[in-house]
Structure formats: C-alpha cells, structure tokens
C-alpha cells in the first residue's frame, strides 16, 4: 500500500464518511424514502445554517480557543435588523451589511479581550453570549416577529424544487445554499492558502513558537473571533429568511451542536488540527441522523438521545485511539 492510500485510510474523514454512507443506506433500506429528491433537499436545507456556523467555530477551535457566543450574536443582529430596518430600506443587502457590522463589533470585542489578556475563550464568549441575549430581551424587547417582505423574498428565492412523485411532497433548494458553498470555500481558502490561515494553525500548535516565528498573534486572534462574529450576524439573517419569521430564541444551543460536529469530524478540541471538510462531515452526520430518524419511525423526543449517543461514541472512538497510541509500546526486540 502506498503512503497516500495509507494516509487516507487512517484519516478521520474517511471513517466519518463511511459512517454517513452506511447510515444513509440503513435508512434507505428501512424506509425507502432516503434517496428521494425532496428528502435530500430537506437535509441540505437543515444542514445549511449550522454548517455555516461551523466555519467560524472551526477557525476558533484550530487556534486553541472556543466560541460559544455566535448563536447569541446571530440572534441579536438578526432581531435588530429585522425590527428596525424594515421601514427604512427595501434593499436586502443593507440588512446583511448592518447585521454583519453588529456581529463584527461583538466578535472584535471577544477577540480583543481574548487576544490581549489571554483570558479563557470559553468564559469570555459565554460572557458575550449572555450580554447579547440580555440586550436582545431587555433593550430590544425581543419576541416572535413577522419577517418583512424584503427578507421573505430572499428566503423564497430558490434554485429548484424537488418533488417526490410517490408522496407528492416537495421541497425548495434555497439560493442561500450558494452562500453556504461560498462561505465553505472561503473558509478553506483562508485556512489553507493564506499565511493568515497558517498562522491560525501555528497559534493552535504552539503560541509561543508562533510569536517567535513572527506571526502577529494578537491580530490573528482578533481576526478569528471577528470573522466568527461577522459571519454570525449574516447567518442570523439567513436563518430568519429560511424560517420566514423572526424567532429570537431559535438558535439557542447551536454552539454546542457546532462544536460537537467539528470534534466528531476530527477537529481537535485542544487546537492545532482540523479542516473544513472535517467540520462539514461532522455536521452532515449530525444532520442526517436528526433528520432521518423520523423516516425510521423514531419519535422526535428520542432524536436528541440518539444524537447525544453518536456524539459521545464518536468522540470516544477518537479519544480511545489517541490513548492507545500514547501507551503503545514500540521497542524493536531482537529476532529470535
């Protein structure tokens, strides 16, 4: 076996990919409904928003940090633009720009505090998260709110409709998916093709060595959290578009899903390692599972239990592998 095949066989992407395929087959065999156009489109629809959050989270994780604030930042930005811009403009772009700026502000706040004082990212972002939820509820009196016509149109814009001939059910693939693809490509490009991206890996590998090598550690840290925050603002508005309504608390808890998806895909929770592909596969697995259990006749209440079990089993598999490697003996004994 040559080196390249060996590397692929040992990669976590390979195993997560296999598990996803096996899972899809199982559902197909049991329900006959998995590989139908509308079901696949449905899965992509529910994959779109969470996987976009994964890009920011991935960068933060690689740098050795963690970001728990993006659902709150996304919700706040989304609520503010939906409530206050509907009478001001009919240009959808403006909604996204303002939301991006609000997200950027909170992201920079995270980045500066974490980069300058090296406080634990978990605590800092939990703090920002709490502030965002509080401001949204206290200052802006958040509640469920009808979406304005401008954004309704963005949400309804579709690439195509897939209809299931058997059941007559149909699903639209939204234009927003294009943005998802672009964001994933952007994440891949930054991480792999720019010195900034290599700096993120370097910081996650050894922050002191990164400083000595001449990386701008503070600037890179601010960029990572700012990027995550800014994208959160934009994605928040996309979420409202796809739901066709403003649900201020709809994203709560998604930070854990995004972190779990990344780790499940093979991203290291302690920093330094991870790829966009791994984050995508992790999120794909979680999405397929939670979306398809219903096809197997498992009630929605049990979906969370199954998702939880998969997260634990997946991370346990990696952890056990690492422990085994750490304790493996490799003394070359004399041949007898």
């Amino acid at each position: 076996m040559n080196n390249k095949t060996k590397k692929i066989l040992h990669s976590s992407e390979f195993y997560v990919g296999i598990i996803i395929i096996l899972f899809c087959m199982l559902i197909q065999v049991r329900s006959g409904q998995f590989f139908t156009g509308n079901n696949l489109v449905d899965i992509i629809r529910s994959f779109t928003i969470p996987v976009m959050f994964c890009v920011g989270e991935l960068m933060v994780l690689i740098s050795g940090g963690v970001d728990c604030s993006f659902p709150a930042i996304a919700s706040l930005s989304m609520f503010v633009v939906c409530k206050y811009l509907e009478d001001v403009t009919t240009n959808p772009l403006l909604f996204f720009v303002v939301a991006a700026l609000i997200g950027l502000a909170f992201g920079v706040l995270n980045g500066v505090i974490i980069g300058k004082y090296r406080f634990p990212a978990l605590i800092v972002t939990l703090g920002t998260s709490s502030i965002c939820w509080g401001v949204m509820q206290g200052v802006f009196q958040s509640r469920e709110y009808p979406l304005c016509a401008t954004l309704l149109a963005v949400g309804k814009a579709k690439l195509f409709t897939a209809t299931n001939a058997e059941t007559g059910l149909s699903s639209d693939l939204p234009m927003i998916t294009i943005f998802m693809v672009l964001l994933l490509l952007l994440g891949w490009f930054i991480l792999n093709k720019t010195m900034l991206g290599r700096g993120i890996y370097a910081i996650g590998g050894d922050i002191i060595a990164a400083k000595r090598a001449g990386f701008n550690v503070f600037g890179t840290t601010v960029f990572i959290y700012a990027f995550s925050g800014m994208m959160a603002g934009i994605i928040g508005v996309f979420r409202a578009c796809m739901l066709q309504a403003v649900h201020p608390n709809n994203l709560e808890g998604l930070e854990m899903t995004a972190i779990a998806a990344c780790v499940l895909g093979g991203v290291s929770i302690t920093g330094g390692k991870g790829t966009v592909l791994q984050a995508c596969l992790g999120m794909a697995l979680l999405t397929v599972v939670s979306n398809s259990l219903i096809l197997l006749g498992i009630s929605t209440h049990w979906q969370n239990v199954v998702t939880g079990l998969i997260i634990i089993a997946g991370t346990a598999a990696t952890a056990i592998q690492n422990q085994k490697n750490a304790k493996k003996l490799a003394v070359k004994l004399t041949e007898s």
Binding site: M195, A209, L329
Partner: protein, 497 residues
C-alpha cells in the same frame, strides 16, 4: 571587521528589584564554539534574550560584528545574523516539516499567500545545508526530539546565520544523537558560523567547545579556554561550592535475601527474557538507548504495563503486578523522567503532593484528614531532603526543577518501599541539586533501601551505582559491577548492533 561576532560588556538587566544580569561580559569569536554554563536562574536565558533583541539591557554595551547596538529589536538581531534555537525548539507539532521550515522565511518576506511550491523549495534548501534527510511532508509531532532539533537548526541557517545560540540542546536526546549533533556543529563551524552552546555537562563542553563563560547569580564567575577546565573548577564556578562526589560502596551481606528478583520476564514490544535481581541496599543502574526497553521494564515492575509472562519475586515471595495499585502495594516506588507531567500536580500545594499516597491511611472516619499528622511528616521529610521552600502550603510550581524532583522523592519515601525506581532523575536538574539528589539516594541505600536508576549518563551511573546492566532491543546485553566497567565499553554495548 571585528574578530568577534558578539562583544557584550557589563550588561545589566533588572526585573523590578531583581538583578537578573548584574554587569556580565560575554565575548564570542567568529566561527568558534563557545559554551555558556550556569545553574538555573543564573541569567543565561536573560543574556540570550538580550542578544536576540527581546530584552533591552538596562546598562552595558552590546556589539555585534563590530557594530554597536544601544537599542536592538529582534528583527535587527536576526538581520545581524543571530539565531536562537530554544530549548523547546519552537517548532509547530501540528504542521509538516516543510511548513515548519518555510513559515518564518515567508513571514519575514511579507508573503500573504501560501505557495506549496515555494515552501518546498525553501524547505529543500534548508535541509540541504546540513545534509539532513527527512520526509518533508511528515507532521513534526511524529518525529524524534533529535529530528526536531535538526529542523530547528536548518531553519536557523536559512537566515544566513553567523551565530547560532543553542539553549541546552543535549538534555532531551540520547548519546548517539548528541554525537550526530556535534558533527553538525563541527560542519557549521567550518562554514565560519559561531555557536553559543548552553550546557551543564562538562564532558560535552570538553568535547565541543573552544572557550567558555560561566555565570552565577547574574555575574561572571569564570571564562577562558575550555582546555583549562577541570570538573572541580567547572562545578565551583557554577555553584560556588566545592562538590566532591563520594563513590558508592556496597557490600553484600552474606545470606541476605534478594529484595527483587525477575525470572524470564517478557512483554511484547517491550522486553524479553529479563532475569535480574536486586539485593538490599543496592543501587542498580540501567542504561541503554531510548527504545531499548529500559523504561518499559521498570514500568512493568511498577504496574504501568502488565508483563505477558515470567515471574516477579519480592523478598522471596512471588507476586503478581497487574496495575499501578499492585506496584505500590508491593512497595515499588517510581519517579518518572518527566516529573512535571507524570509525577506532580503543579498547581496543588507541596504538602498535598508529598502526602497524596498516604491519604487513605491518615484519613479518620468520615474521611476527615489528620492535618496535623500530615504536616508533621511532610515537614520532617522536607528537612531530611533539604528541600528549599517557603511554606509547604505553596503550590508545587513555585519550586525549581531540582526541588520538585526532591518532593517527588519525598512522596515515595513516606511509604515503606522495597524498591525505589528513578527514571532519569537528573535530566534538566542543576548540578548542585543533582549532587544533592545522588548523595541522598546513596544515604538511603546505605540505610537499606534498594534503588534502580535509569540514565543515559554513563559517568553518572558509574559513580553512583554499584552494579549496572545495559539493555539493547529489549534484552539485557551486559551486566556487572561498576568498579569493573569503564564508560567507553558500556556505551559500546548500548549501541552495538
């Protein structure tokens, strides 16, 4: 043009009220190997940081290649040809060899985008400078310390280095690797590159250095030609006290039972057919290369690994050691080489660290600790081992490496041990503390404790153990009394293939 690459005169550096450097001189000629020695906290790292531009000195003059630098930035230092190879090597474990080699250069030239092709060219150029053969696409975390070091050296050479500062480059590598490193250093010297070699080890200084400078407490205590140095002078300059090693003398009492006996012990990928015995009050040295099975063997005694077959006898009684708990139950204490990661809880108090193995015994009903008793015993051992500390309530990480090592010893000595195993007890420990540790071990042995010491440092084994075994590829290839052995033949046994 100056004959000197570095001329530092009367350099002073204060941190708050602490004088880290109190007017030290350091002169390094072009193309020479210069050794800088001194105990921890003597100012070695501070002077390195001054030369590399990370610290601005509070006084004194610094000249690099004849040019005076009153205030120097790290960039100016690099431009003047100074490269530092830190003890931690400053490599990125999660990146490939190629990236590790190329990133600094690419950053320095202000590149914003990654070009794999350019990366590869730079990396190839770097490894070619020292004829270093390595898979450029391998992740650095999968490499040995020696290879990581060569990566750091090749990386340093990319910047047209005129002086390479190596901060204790030999602490984490084996004898064989040290030899390879010295060949690289001699090669660099031929290219007129000066090396500032920071080391505590006299034999290395003799072998590689032409001149030396020694610091103690931020002051110069000695400088000159390496050929004039003797062991006594060297340790005196470093510690300020006369250190005389007493050889360990052991006399077997007739009819005494063996404390530990191993019969045909085997562990797959660890060691095979090991037969070994240890008498009361003996100090047994085990040496061999990394990966010779020496660590695996003692870990099996301690219960970290479970031997596949064979028999272990403690004081004539056959025992089963399946877990660390069994090891401790049978009175086997193990002090690991990386005490920082394996043996201590750094943020916890010294008291807790020393007393942890006895908690079961000292806890009353309901699990309430007898604090007074604990303090008494801990203070007693702190005194016996001469551990330098402020209060036993202070966290462990306030102590120096040598004192931490002594605390780990104390933790085991509190128990009634049959065998104490020390794995690399003096790696990264100051010469004074090292001496203290060995004197202590010898006095413990004189009182009847049996000790096993694992070390790369053959002179250390020869002067502190009464018997030695050499392991190679999981087997014992040589065994005998230290008084019948010499350094060269032992080293030969360890590497011979």
């Amino acid at each position: 043009m100056s004959d000197y690459i570095i001329r530092a005169k009367g350099i002073k550096k204060y941190f708050g009220g602490v004088k880290a450097l109190d007017g030290v001189d350091l002169e390094i000629k072009k193309g020479e190997v210069h050794c800088l020695a001194g105990e921890n906290g003597c100012g070695k790292s501070t002077i390195i940081n001054v030369i590399s531009g990370f610290y601005t000195p509070d006084g004194g003059e610094l000249e690099i290649d004849g040019v005076s630098y009153p205030k120097m930035t790290p960039q100016q230092s690099i431009a003047a040809g100074i490269q530092v190879i830190y003890q931690d090597l400053s490599v990125f474990p999660n990146l490939t060899v190629m990236e590790n080699l190329a990133l600094n250069m690419e950053l320095a030239s202000g590149k914003k985008f990654v070009s794999k092709k350019r990366f590869r060219e730079i990396a190839k150029e770097a490894v070619a400078k020292i004829n270093f053969e390595i898979d450029l696409d391998e992740k650095v975390e999968n490499l040995s310390v020696a290879d990581k070091q060569l990566i750091a050296i090749s990386r340093a050479l990319l910047n047209n280095a005129k002086l390479i500062i190596m901060d204790e480059p030999t602490t984490a590598i084996t004898k064989k690797e040290v030899r390879a490193l010295f060949n690289v250093i001699r090669d660099l010297q031929k290219q007129n590159i000066a090396i500032l070699f920071v080391s505590h080890k006299l034999d290395e200084v003799f072998e590689i250095a032409e001149r030396f400078t020694i610091f103690r407490n931020g002051k110069n205590t000695g400088a000159g030609d390496a050929s004039e140095l003797t062991q006594e002078k060297f340790t005196y300059y470093m510690t300020g006290r006369e250190i005389k090693e007493t050889p360990f003398i052991y006399e077997e009492k007739p009819g005494a039972k063996k404390v530990l006996e191993l019969k045909n012990l085997n562990l797959k990928n660890g060691f095979k057919n090991v037969n070994l015995s240890l008498g009361e009050g003996e100090i047994l040295g085990i040496t061999g290369l990394l990966g010779s099975g020496r660590t695996e063997l003692v870990q099996a005694l301690f219960g970290y690994h479970k031997a596949d077959s064979g028999e272990i006898y403690i004081r004539g009684k056959k025992v089963q050691i399946n877990s660390v708990k069994d090891g401790i139950k049978n009175g086997i204490g193990y002090v690991p080489p990386e005490r920082i990661v394996e043996g201590v809880f750094l943020p916890q108090s010294i008291k807790q660290n020393i007393s942890i193995e006895k908690w079961d015994e000292w806890a009353g009903p309901l699990g309430i600790m007898n604090e007074k008793k604990i303090e008494e015993v801990v203070n007693d051992w702190v005194k016996k081992l001469r551990i330098k500390l402020h209060s036993i309530e202070d966290p462990m990480n306030t102590l120096s490496g040598g004192n931490q090592q002594k605390c780990v010893l104390a933790k085991w000595l509190i128990l009634d041990l049959n065998v104490l195993i020390l794995n690399g007890p003096t790696v990264g420990v100051d010469i004074g503390a090292k001496f203290d540790i060995y004197e202590l071990v010898k006095s413990l042995a004189a009182n009847g404790l049996s000790v096993i010491i694992i070390s790369d440092d053959i002179p250390e084994i020869l002067s502190n153990c009464n018997r030695v075994v050499v392991m190679r590829r999981g087997e014992i290839v040589k065994e005998g009394l230290t008084k019948d052995m010499d350094e060269a033949s032992l080293a030969e046994f360890a590497v011979a293939d």
